[in-house]
Each structure stands twice: as C-alpha cells, then as structure tokens.
C-alpha cells in the first residue's frame, strides 16, 4: 500500500517552533507530513481542511498552542471549538473523523511533536488511502 499523505497546519508561534525544536534535537519521525505554516491555528477555516482532503490528503493535522498559551491570547479557542465540530461532520458524512487530528504542541515540546507525528502517521497508515474510499 502507498505511503499516507498528510498535511499539517501549524501555528507559527508554538507548533511550528515545536517542529523546529524536534529538528534541532534531531528527533526522527516519518516524512509523510508536509507542514504549512499559518499565524494561528484559529486561521484554519474548516474549508481548508476539507480542501486538503479533496486534494487527496489521507490525513490533516491542525496543531496550535496549548489552550491558555496562544500567542494571540484566544485564537486557538476558536480552533478548539471549530475543529471538533468539523470532525463530527466528517463522521456523519461517512469519513473517518480520525483523519483530522487536532492537538496542541508548544514551542518547547519537540519530543511531543515527534510523538504526535509518529502516532498520527501510524494511525493514518492503518486506514485505506482516502482517495480510494472516495471512488
């Protein structure tokens, strides 16, 4: 089976720096995820997640600062409200909601970032390619 293709939307201040921290510490994780930097996870509208799936992504991640640590104070509060709703919608539409992963990774948590990458890639690898399920 083919390698899962994953798009990760990461906030600039915490998660993206967390990913950098993982790199600086030379932590290894699967290369499947392609990271897209956005200022805040609150910038990620559900449409962007859906469009990524439509483009053939097998999994989409939205990572932000921990609740209470958002660089923009409450930007990630919107993420915390919006994304679970989107997961529900995916579920109702017959799309495995696990394909969308929401998590919080701080700038200091390189190790956590690598673990999140490994776990999610593993989880998505267990699912059939998304495009195939859509045929």
């Amino acid at each position: 089976m083919s390698e899962p293709k994953i798009i990760g939307f990461l906030c600039n201040w915490c998660s993206y720096r967390g990913a950098d921290a993982a790199g600086m510490a030379r932590m290894k994780y699967p290369p499947n995820v392609k990271i897209i930097r956005v200022p805040c996870s609150g910038r990620i509208s559900p449409e962007l997640v859906l469009r990524s799936l439509r483009e053939g992504a097998d999994g989409v991640m939205v990572l932000g600062c921990h609740i209470g640590d958002c660089h923009y104070a409450t930007g990630n509060h919107r993420t915390a409200k919006r994304m679970p709703v989107l997961k529900k919608l995916l579920e109702y539409a017959g799309i495995d909601p696990e394909r969308l992963h929401i998590n919080w990774v701080s700038a200091a948590e390189g190790e956590r970032f690598a673990t999140v990458m490994k776990d999610f890639t593993e989880k998505i690898s267990a699912l059939p390619p998304f495009v195939e399920t859509m045929r």
């Binding site: 469009r51 439509r54 921990h66 409200k81 109702y92 017959g94 859509m134 045929r135």
Partner: protein
C-alpha cells in the same frame, strides 16, 4: 376555509390596523401559494389567506425591512420560521424593533412531513393553534445508526444525484451572505457533474450551517434530487447543543457560539502541567 385559517384570519384582522402590513401566505393565481404582504388597503385579499404549503417567509421579511427599515410589520410564522427570523436578528440582518410575530403552530401531519422536533413558536406572543410535541426524525436516526462505510455509501449515492442548482443554499433563510463561498472556485469546483467526492459543496455548506440551521427543511423540500441534506445539519445541531448549549433561534439573548471565547476549565488543558 378551515377553522385554523379562519382563526388566523381573525388574528391578522385584529393586528392589521396597527401595522403597515402583515406578511403571510396567500393563495394566488391558479391556487399557487406565495408570501404576501396583507395591507389595510385590500382587506378582501384576506379571503385568500393560506397556510400550506409553507413558503420561506423570513427572507421576504428581510427584503421588506431592508427597503423600509421603519416599517411596522407583523409576520405569520411557524416555529422554524420564527427561529429563522431570530437567527437573522442575531446576525444583524434585520431588526425586530417594529416586528410583531404571529405564531402558527403546526399540526401533527405537518410536523410529520417535516420530521420536526420543535413544530411550535416560542417567542410569538399571539399564536394560532396549540403547540404540539415534536416528532422523532426517523430518517436522521436511521442514517445516524449506520456504520461509517454505510454512511459513506449512502451520501455518495445521494450526492451523485445533486445537479448543483444551489437551490438549498438559495432558499435557506440562514444563507444571507452577499458573496457565497460555495461559488468560489477555491472551495467548490465548477462545471463537474456528478460532483467529485468528497463533496466540497455539501460539506462546506453543512459546516456553514453549524449553529445556524433552524431545521425548517426548506432545503430538502426544494431539492430536485430529493437529497436529505438536513440530516447533516440536524446531527450537527445535536452536537452544537451538547458542546455549546446552543440551539438556533431558541433564546433571543443567547449569542451564537461562534462569538464566545472558551470558558476557562470548560476545555481540558493539554500537555503542559498548568
């Protein structure tokens, strides 16, 4: 004329002298029903007062108030339409300062037709008919109970019939944007039928209906392909109710959940030992 129509007519006649018009349904040429603004000038038109089939009245109310912001209006609305009006108000699309709501409680058969959970008004001070309890939406229950592959197969089959008339979007009282994201090539590909899966049109629309859908089922009724899309909205509405304690149109003062910041403690902090 049924007793219910007579009763409604009496209420309208009572209200009419105090307002510039009463928005309700009228049986027009060929018996075709449409929203109509009953005025003092032509009281004889009330003879053609109609109540079924229901037509979306929140939108005409908005149109009239846009053109005549100071008009004193009354509107005959069912439960769903009342909720629609309240949501339009919450989204700053119309003002209710000069609007009198006249409730029209649905009958059992009507509620069943709409699979309606709340076939009654809650804000209207005057209403016709007795509020009935809601009916169980067996279709929604059936789809909710499906396995994930079954759901996927079901919706693929339904969406395959979609001719992208945008009727569900156009008729929806909650779709009031000037420019619709569904007409943007960035989100919905144009010129492809049957639409490719996953259906960006239907998923984006369902997402946009979150915490807004008032369960009037106008979308399903107007759909030439009979797609039961309101099922999505209704399932989402349950989650919104559970997550944010919000029911569209229910409480006038309650802000839509989009507007609220997380209450501290309501969400689990993760990772860091705060």
């Amino acid at each position: 004329m049924t007793a219910r129509v007579t009763a409604l007519r009496e209420v309208i006649e009572k209200v009419l002298p105090e307002v510039d018009g009463v928005l309700a349904l009228r049986s027009g040429p060929g018996g075709i029903v449409a929203p109509y603004l009953f005025g003092k000038e032509h009281p004889e038109e009330l003879a053609k007062l109609a109540i079924w089939p229901k037509e979306p009245v929140p939108e005409p109310l908005k149109v009239i108030l846009r053109a005549h912001p100071d008009a004193k209006l009354a509107i005959v609305c069912r439960g769903c339409e009342e909720r629609g009006i309240v949501e339009l108000f919450k989204h700053a699309q119309l003002s209710l300062n000069n609007v009198t709501l006249i409730g029209l409680q649905c009958e059992r058969s009507e509620a069943e037709f709409c699979r309606c959970a709340k076939p009654f008004t809650v804000h209207a001070k005057t209403f016709v008919g007795e509020p009935l309890e809601g009916v169980t939406d067996s279709l929604t229950e059936r789809i909710a109970a499906m396995s994930q592959p079954e759901k996927l197969a079901f919706w693929k089959d339904e969406f395959e019939h979609c001719i992208k008339c945008y009727g569900c979007r156009t008729i929806c009282p909650q779709c009031f944007c000037n420019v619709c994201a569904l007409e943007d090539e960035t989100w919905v590909e144009t010129g492809r039928l049957p639409m490719p899966n996953p259906s960006m049109y239907h998923l984006v629309r369902a997402m946009h209906m979150t915490a807004k859908c008032v369960a009037c089922r106008e979308c399903e009724e107007t759909c030439p392909a009979d797609i039961p899309m309101a099922v999505h909205f209704r399932l989402m509405a349950r989650d919104v109710k559970e997550m944010f304690k919000y029911e569209p149109g229910a409480v006038m003062e309650q802000k839509p959940p989009q507007l609220l910041v997380l209450e501290e403690g309501e969400y689990e902090r993760t990772g860091l030992p705060h």
